[in-house]
Symmetry: C2
Subunit: 409 residues, 2 copies
Amino acid sequence: MKRQLFDFSDSLSTMAKERLESSAIGEMIKLVVSNKAISFTAGEPSSELLPVEQLKEAFKGVFDDPAKLCYYWSDLGHIELREWICDWMRKDGLSAKWVKPENIMMTCGSQEGISFAAEAFIDPGSYVLVENPTYMETLLSFRKQGATCIGVPIDENGIIIDELKKIIEQKKVRMLYTIPNFQNPTGYCTSRERREKVIELLSEHGIPILEDDPYHYLSYDKETPPTYMSLAGDNACVIYLGSFSKIVAPGLRCGWMVLPDQIVSKIISLRVNANLSLPILVQDGLFNMLQKIDLEAHINDLRDVYRKRRDDLCAAFEEYIVPLGVRINKPEGGFFIWGNLDGIPDMFEFAKYAVKEFKVGVIPGSVFFVPGTSDQSAIRFSFAKVDKKNAVEGAKRLVAAINAYPKNN
Amino acid sequence: MKRQLFDFSDSLSTMAKERLESSAIGEMIKLVVSNKAISFTAGEPSSELLPVEQLKEAFKGVFDDPAKLCYYWSDLGHIELREWICDWMRKDGLSAKWVKPENIMMTCGSQEGISFAAEAFIDPGSYVLVENPTYMETLLSFRKQGATCIGVPIDENGIIIDELKKIIEQKKVRMLYTIPNFQNPTGYCTSRERREKVIELLSEHGIPILEDDPYHYLSYDKETPPTYMSLAGDNACVIYLGSFSKIVAPGLRCGWMVLPDQIVSKIISLRVNANLSLPILVQDGLFNMLQKIDLEAHINDLRDVYRKRRDDLCAAFEEYIVPLGVRINKPEGGFFIWGNLDGIPDMFEFAKYAVKEFKVGVIPGSVFFVPGTSDQSAIRFSFAKVDKKNAVEGAKRLVAAINAYPKNN
C-alpha cells in the first residue's frame, strides 16, 4: 500500500488552489477513446495528412551538427527558421513592415504564446476581452493569471462592434484575444470591415490585440481577409500567433509569436523562466523540411481533403440531424461546425450520454463560453478526422442519441 | 525606417513591469562568444561527449508511427519513457516506494519543473528558501512569481542546519529549493547527515522540498549520498527534478518531475496552460535510444572525461592563480569550481574586463546570491568544456587579467 504522509495544502499558491481548472475537452476526448466512439471532438489534423516521410528525411540532417543537441544561443529560437517565417509572412501579406526575424519568437505551439501573453498582460483582477464563445484553453490560461474574461458577442462576421464599444467604454481592459479566421469553436471568420473597426476602436483606448491565427491557411471557399497585424501596420498594436500545428504536424509543437519591439525583452524573460529554450533540434528538422517541401502545394492538398470532409459532414448533418431541429453553421475554413439544438437541459450530460450509449463524441458548446454566459443549446463538431463513411454513421448515431435522450418539457 | 506607434506600457502586468530580470549569465556567455574567449562560463556538456550517432539512429524509429507527430494522449508525457525512468530511479535507489509512472511528468528541462513549482507554491510576498548562493535561473523564476527568496548559508557539507532552523522559526516559508549534489555554483555536496536533519526540521514545519538533481550521476570520487526523496520515504514531502541534459544532451530539453499524488493534478493543469504538451517525438527518440545504449557505461565514460578535466583545471589553477591569492574549492562532481579572490571591488566588472581584454570568460559569483547578500570575491569556473591545453592557457590569461586589473586599496 502506498502512503504519503505530507500535507501540501498549506504550501500551495492562490493560483494552485483557486485558479487552475482542468480541460473539459480533454475529458470528452478520453471518453471517446475509451468508448471507441466515432469522434467529432478533436480539432487536430488527420494523421494520414502529415508529411511523415519528408519529416523523417529532414530530421536526419539535424544530427550532422551536434550543436543542434546543445543549448541554443538565441533565446528567440532557430534563426534560419525565424528568417523563413519572416519572409513567408511578408510574401503572403500577413505581417507589417516593422516585422524582422528579431520580432519573432518560436513557441511550443500557439498555447505557449497565449500563456506568455497572459503573464505579460494580466494581473489578478484585470479585465480581458475574448470572443464569446472562444478557445477554451485560452480561458483557462487567462483565468490562471487571475483575469476576469469578458465575452464579446460575435456573429458570422466576427466581433459585434457596438457590443465591443459598450464594453470598452465601461471598463479598463488589458487586451483583446481573437481568432479571426474560422474561429474555434464557431468556424466564424471576421470580415475585413469588422477587423478595421476593431483596430480603430481598440487603438483609441490603447488596448492591444492578441491575434491567434492557426487556421489561416485552411480556407476552403475564398481567400481569408488580411490579418489584424497587417491592417494595423505601423500602429503596432498586435501580437500575432502563428502555428505549424495544422499545416505540418501538431506534435512538433512549433508555433511562433510576432512581437512588437517594446515587449520582445519581456517575452524573452518569460521564455528563459519557463524552460530556458525549446528543443532546437525540432525547429531544425522543421526548417530542413521547409527547404524541400512545396508547402503551397501541400496546403492545397490539405484544403482539398478538409473541404470534402466539411462538405460530407454538412451533407450528412443536413440529411440526418437538421430534420430533428439541429441548426448548423457551415464554415468557410478551419475544422469546426457550430451547431445548436434546443430542448437539451445540459449539453455536457447529453455529450457524455451520446458517447457512452451511442458511441459518438461531440463537444458541448458550453465549455467555450465565459462563466455566466453559457449557451446550453450549443455543440461543436470537428470534421478534421472524419471521412464520409464515419460522417454518415456518426450522424445516424446522433439521431439515435437525440431521439433516445430525455427531452426538456 | 520602422515605426511602431502603439504604447504597451499601460497594458503590462506587474510581473512584466517589475518582476522580470534578464540572465546575467547569458550576457557573459554572449561576451565570451563575441570575444572568441577561452570559456570557463557554460555549465553545459561538451558537444563531443553527446551520443550523436545513437540519437540519430534512435530518431529514425520515431517516424514509423505518425501518432508520435500528433497530440499525445497523456498530459504527463511519454508513457514508456516514464516507466523507464520509474524503474531506473527505483533500481538506483533514487525514489520512494510510492513513486509510480503516474507520479512522473516529463518537463522541458529541469527549468520547466522549477517554473511549475514556482507557480504552484508562490504567491506575491511568499518566502521561499534557497541555498545561498544557488542556480541563478531559479532565483529569477521565484522572483517572477513575486517571492522573497531567503538565502540559507551553506558550506562544503551543504545547508547549515542551525541557520536553517533560525530562519524557519521566524518566518512562514513555502518551500526549500536545493541542489544537493555538486551544487551550481559551488560544487558542494550535501552530506547524508545534513539531508536527514533538513527533512526532519522542514517536516516539523510542513515545508516541502524541491530537490533539483541534474548532476546526480556526475560524481568523480565517491558515491553520491541518498536523495532527499528516498530519505523522506513515505513522508512524501519532496518534489524531485531529474534531467537528461547532463548525461545525454541538453538540447533534447528532457527532464522530469516526480510529484506526490496531492499535486499531480495541479501540475498537469500548469502543463496544459503552458503549452498543452511537449513534442512527444523528442521523448520517443530519447526512449528509443535508452533501449539500445549502455547508459551506465556511457555515464562512466563521461565521469572519466570530466574527472580529468576537473583535475587538469584544478592543477592549472593551483599552479597559476592560487599563488595570486585565489582560493578554490575542488568539487567531487558536477561541472563547477567555486573560487574567491579578495580585493576586487566589483567582480562583474572584472569578468567583463577579463573577457574583453584577455579573452578568458568566468562567471562573477555575485549573480548566484539572493539580493543584499552578494559576495563580491566569488567566481564560478566551469571545467565541462575545457581540455588541458585550454585549462593552462585560460589560467595564464587569468593571471594576466588579475595582475593588470586595478586593485582595491
